[in-house]
């Protein structure tokens, strides 16, 4: 069976379709605004799942077992400043899409966020109480609630900040670029999270789908670190001499929507179920990963 990927022009969706192509498994991706070759147009504001039957060449909805919903407005401050517009996509449209997927017998795989937690203590497990403080987290929680109350099979993947080590990611490459330009960056020591290698998340989604697992899983790296630590690791591992990193508090950085402090998550359930080993940040940045692979 093939999978559908909603939002395949975005960061995770793009990597996921690449991952599936590499594994020689069938996947069809959609875009809504940023047109991309090979992807099918799909408007999440007015979702019409059946329309895909005519826009996909040689395939129909019954060829798909799962649909991964990566499409959403992920700019957190925008969810605060433009609540209605973002709600229409992130909640109303997404819920409609999920309901249509249920009707077509396709299992929705919803990508949620660590921001459904309030960040007061960190190390959150799947069952912990969700009390989002960000508008973005509140929107995601509403879709989660909808899934949990549906009585249907679904897969809910909560992930954290995702990064890649090449090309188009903001977390590592963006940071490295700014440092190389000689910038002095203020990084919060009190904002703790579990930055996760995007390729691990793609792999995790593949495993969950292939084994037909349903329910809620935290798919994030093992180690919780602060923004400041992240920047220091990147600077050191990539050997960047230029620029500087200065510790600060998240409160000193002005965001439209105030960020929760410690949203780190516990990935035990997923790891115990599958035996998966997450890539550590240092490993992703360095050569160790290849060396670990080559050991015979």
């Amino acid at each position: 069976m093939a999978i559908l990927i909603f939002g395949a022009s975005g960061f995770l969706g793009g990597k996921l379709i690449e991952h599936y192509t590499r594994a020689k498994k069938k996947a069809v991706g959609t875009y809504s605004k940023s047109k991309k070759q090979g992807l099918v147009k799909f408007d999440l504001e007015n979702p019409d799942l059946k329309s895909l039957n005519s826009s996909m060449k040689g395939m129909s909805l019954k060829d798909f077992s799962h649909a991964v919903i990566c499409s959403s407005v992920t700019e957190m401050d925008l969810c605060k400043t433009e609540p209605e517009k973002t709600y229409a996509i992130n909640v109303t449209g997404t819920k409609k899409l999920i309901s249509q997927l249920f009707d077509s017998g396709i299992i929705p795989v919803f990508i949620s966020t660590d921001y459904v937690f309030d960040g007061s203590r960190g190390n959150y497990s799947e069952e912990d109480e969700r009390k989002p403080v960000l508008a973005y987290g509140k929107q995601k929680k509403e879709v989660e609630d909808y899934l949990m109350g549906s009585g249907k099979n679904y897969l809910l993947v909560r992930s954290a900040k995702l990064y890649d080590v090449t090309g188009d990611d903001k977390v590592i490459t963006g940071l490295a670029r700014e440092l190389k330009a000689g910038k002095q960056l203020s990084m919060a020591t009190d904002q703790i999270f579990s930055p996760t290698y995007v390729s691990d998340v793609c792999c995790a989604i593949e495993i969950l789908i292939d084994r037909n697992i349903t329910g809620c899983y935290h798919v994030c790296s093992d180690k919780a670190i602060s923004r400041y630590e992240l920047a220091m690791i990147v600077k050191k591992e990539l050997g960047i001499k230029e620029g500087g990193v200065k510790p600060c508090s998240i409160k000193e950085l002005k965001f439209e929507d105030e960020r929760p402090l410690n949203t780190s998550m516990n990935n035990k359930r997923f790891k115990e179920l599958t035996g998966f080993k997450f890539t550590a940040l240092k490993e992703a940045l360095g050569k160790q990963r290849t060396e670990r692979m080559m050991l015979q």
């Binding site: 792999c203 599958t274 990963r289 080559m294 015979q296």
Partner: protein
């Protein structure tokens, strides 16, 4: 005739280099990072092989190059598809192209994972159908060689093991468990052709001496289930062995493995007259060496 062993710090590479030298052949080995004296540094992702070996190395006729280097862990290949593909396919093909242009004959090590393991007893004509990423990558290189490099040799191996308790191979793994009084856990329903690593080295030499080309299954004609291999091995060592078998799903593996991966190796035997070492003899060798230190055992 001379030999270049790419990846001579690994299990098969080091055994083959040693064997060829012991038979009086000129043989050079490469390594990527671990520092073993006497090996040439060569990183398959970075270097040109011609620039790494001594000048004029490829001027001779009949240079055979055994390609042992690979990201060979099945689950790593699954988790890091892109990175492993870069090593196992893209860089390997680049090396093959370079060898071709230098007039050397590549001997590529492939694997029983190109099969799905449903029927077992595979010969060279059996239909391939890899069920894991590693197998797909191996098959991609096989297909490239068959199409683009006539004269090259592909040797498919199933389970290769040795007689030393220090390397990472199936017998050494089992030995550590048996010795510690722990239970050996086996994949239920797996059937494999355990083949002595020194036989693989001999087979590499035979491929070049007999000027073979194309696809060969290099395999002992004996085959065992995992449980039976563990039981026989334990008995030969004189240990009481606790064995249980569990379905593969209970092992928390990321990617799939073929269940019946054992080979019909008669094509190679017919072509060369090679006699494979029985597992009994391998167990006996292992027993002689199991109480020796790493240096003594190697002698």
């Amino acid at each position: 005739m001379k030999f270049l062993i790419i990846g001579a710090s690994g299990f098969i590479g080091s055994s083959t280099l040693e064997y060829l030298k012991s038979q009086g052949f000129e043989a050079l080995g490469t390594q990527s990072s671990s520092k073993i004296p006497g090996l040439v540094e060569y990183d398959i992702q970075k270097h040109s092989i011609k620039k790494q070996v001594p000048a004029g190395f490829f001027k001779d006729k009949d240079v055979y190059c055994l390609i042992c280097v690979a990201a060979s862990k099945i689950d790593y290949c699954y988790q890091y598809k892109k990175e492993s593909h870069a090593i196992n396919v893209e860089s390997t093909i680049k090396l093959i192209d370079e060898l071709k242009s230098l007039g050397a004959t590549p001997i590529f090590i492939s694997s029983s994972t190109v099969f799905d393991g449903k029927t077992g007893y595979y010969n060279e004509k059996s239909k391939t159908n890899p069920i894991c990423e590693y197998g797909r990558q191996k098959l991609e290189v096989e297909e490239y060689l068959l199409k683009k490099v006539p004269g090259s040799v592909i040797i498919r191996l199933d389970k290769v093991l040795g007689d030393l308790p220090y390397y990472n191979h199936l017998l050494a793994e089992m030995f550590r468990l048996i010795q510690a009084g722990k239970t050996v856990e086996c994949f239920q329903g797996c059937i494999l052709s355990p083949t002595y690593v020194k036989d693989v080295s001999k087979a590499v030499l035979l491929c070049s001496q007999k000027k073979l080309s194309g696809l060969f299954h290099i395999s002992n004609s004996e085959f065992f289930t995992r449980e039976e291999l563990a039981r026989q091995f334990g008995m030969a060592l004189g240990f009481e062995t606790k064995i249980i078998s569990k379905p593969m799903e209970e092992f928390q593996l990321l990617d799939k493995r073929p269940m019946k991966s054992y080979f019909d190796g008669s094509k190679f035997v017919k072509a060369t007259g090679m006699r494979f070492t029985s597992m009994h003899s391998v167990f006996d060798e292992f027993k002689k060496k199991m109480n020796l230190g790493p240096e003594e055992a190697k002698k």
